[in-house]
Amino acid sequence: MALYEYSWLILLAPLFAFAVIVFGTRFWDLLSRPRVAAATTHAEVHAVAEHGAGGETHAEHESDVELIETTGPHGEKIILENDEDPKVPQLTPGARWSGYLGVIIIALACLYSWLILLASAGALPGVPPLPPGGINLSAISYTWLQQSTASYVIDFRLNNLAIAMMVVVTTISLLVQFYSQGYMENSAGYARFFAYLSLFAFSMLMIVFAANFLVIFIGWELVGLSSYLLIGFWINKKAKPAEDRLSPASASIEAFIANRVGDVGFLIGIMILFVNTGTFNFADLAGPASNPFSVAHNFANNQALLTIAMILVFCGAIGKSAQIPLQVWLPPAMEGPTPVSALIHAATMVAAGVYMVAVTFPLFATAGPAAFGVVAWIGGITALFAATIGLVQRDFKRVLAFSTISQLGYMFVGLGVAGPLYGPGPGMFHLFTHAFFKALLFLGAGSVLYALHHAMHREVQDMRLMGGLAKYMPITAITWLIATLSISGFPFFAGFYSKDTIISLAFNQGDYALWAITLLTAGFTAFYMLRAYILAFGGKGGGFGGLWGGTYRGTGEPHESPITITLPLILLAIASIVAGYWTGFFSYIQPGAPNLDIPMILNDAVATPVGALSVILALAGFVWAYILYTRFELASIDAFVQSHAVLRALHRIVLNKFYVDEFYDLLIRYVVLGISHIEQAFDTYVVDGLVNGTARLVVTLGRDLRYIETGRVQTYMVGIFGGIVVLIIFVFVLVNFVK
């Protein structure tokens, strides 16, 4: 049991790394500062000192701002963005050590979490699995605030659900940090980046380990903060209106604010639960009706309020997981560094919403079908909506962003339709597999961007400038293809099992509308993923009928990325296949749930029309994308779409994301700002009017009344004696006439 008891080390390790990086970088820099010989001139000493001490934060203001014009090898004029600026410093030893430290610590945490996973799954001899309810990590739990009626406890616990999520978080964090060693090499603020990554890992693990709503909310907000910091990491990068791209700074603010909108609902939901039950604790809340703290006990006569509370709690998940109507923040968040997109916007942070619903699954179950209906339908609509938008996006990372939104929708469908037998298993299973292949997709995309950046000397994300990259970077291409097949639900890959489980659950629960939506989404997913793959790596004229290589539409000569980048890709590619073969996942998450029956699923896919339909749709998407993008040039497809009025209109609507952003823009500009103007007018004229009016009254009175101050003694004397006379009369009247 000691193995489980000390799992809090995993939680605190990234925090430790964060602290050491924040305080240690400068220290290491100073330690390794070159000893300057006495003979050097003053100016040289100054330069060395500045380079050594200020290197880490230095030159951020230089990166990626101006354009440099130069001539290429054939005399053509090339415009360079200077984010390969020679002024960006070489890595200082402190920054380098910070990177190593972050990786080492998260590697230890990852190793430990895998050990715990194996032990709790019963695969480690000599260590018993966890008890079904999990264990409390009392070593780091304490009472934060004790009131007479309520106690606010910082409480952590470990159960199988948390372990599954913990493994995802630490594994993806490890791979992303390793990857960033190569990817972020040329970026200013290298040590800061690893500090943020560690902070993020800590925040995420806090959500994972949380035993009550209080802790999960703290982790929730910390995750929001660190995602804000990471999205806006390239703080001086400018917006690119031509490519419809925001600046990272605006994108980070948008992400933060969209999350706040959801968090308001989350917080209100928590408050409703707390006020009515008196506890934040998940185990108490989910307890049987005999437990005086359980929702079953406290909401027995008020089912509707519980449903409202759970829908409000789900609002938090909507914000964090970028579901409709708060999906707008995720695509702009792709402005962050690509490892960040992989870590935060694919594998972990956006999955926090799914995890939170999984943790509170018993509460949703108590709240009844309406709450689950909201979860499932929001997920389903989002899945289809985002998949539709993904069909036409040109930006490499945007496609992945929409596919993430869509897959998260799937997870919510999985949670919403699972029913009591499966519990949160199917949704979590898709989260589990999705984390690997989506991280792989993002890291692969990062590898492509890295190569293109070196080839074209500027940041390229437009797929129209890619093509045929497979022959230049085969490792990236093959791993990306694996991830594509996995996410599209191609049989034998991990995504197939998790996605098929959800689709067939929707069918078996009788939610035929949701079933149709998820099926359609699966077809769309297959289409846009293969489209993205072919546009980037294949094309007309390539090998394997266009899948491998083809015309390269960019400039320069891309090369395969270094080993720090490709090694995580290979590991994730393996995980993207084998993750689906953890057949005991459902019963691991929810005791008593049936195992994943792989032979039966494969048999269904061939034998029964319902099972075959999902495979057929995915294949149809594949075939359609394959025919379209390997047989025709991209330009001719575009020309065809543009020449038909209906297609053109459709294309424009979808390309502009159904104008949701514009709608929000109008909403904010006219409704929110309109209300603000009214409030401002109220403030200016009523509140300020009262305050200023009082002041003006006093001033006027003073100005007018001062003339009774004549300075003449006799006037004052008249006042005194007149006053006495008045008083006398007053007293006289009082005594004689007032009974």
């Binding site: 004549t710 003694v713 006799q714 004397m717």
Partner: protein, 107 residues
């Protein structure tokens, strides 16, 4: 028909009114001062009268009113000295003793 309390009170009231009139209406500062003195003495007369004719309170035999009057006379003398000194000082500076013109401390 001998002296009664009413005689004292009427005399005191008359003197007080005369003094008040002088203090309020006269322009000359010295006359105003004289008016004030008259008012003080009117009060003295009233107090001595009350003290003398008091039949009810046994401690009237301790001459409370008379002692008050003596104190008032003392204070009035001091006050008159101070006031006359001020009037002289003002006269030296401004060549007037008209209280209507001494209004430097207005708004």
């Amino acid at each position: 028909m001998g002296l009664t309390l009413n005689h004292f009170l009427v005399l005191g009231a008359l003197l007080f009114c005369i003094g008040l009139y002088g203090a309020l209406a006269k322009r000359n500062a010295i006359a105003v001062l004289m008016g004030i003195e008259i008012m003080l003495n009117a009060v003295n007369i009233t107090m001595v009268g009350f003290s003398f004719f008091n039949q009810v309170r046994p401690y009237s035999t301790f001459l409370t009113g008379q002692i008050f009057a003596i104190f008032i006379i003392t204070v009035a003398a001091a006050e008159a000295a101070v006031a006359l000194a001020m009037i002289i000082a003002i006269y030296r500076r401004r060549s007037t003793v008209d209280v209507g013109e001494i209004d430097m401390m207005k708004w």
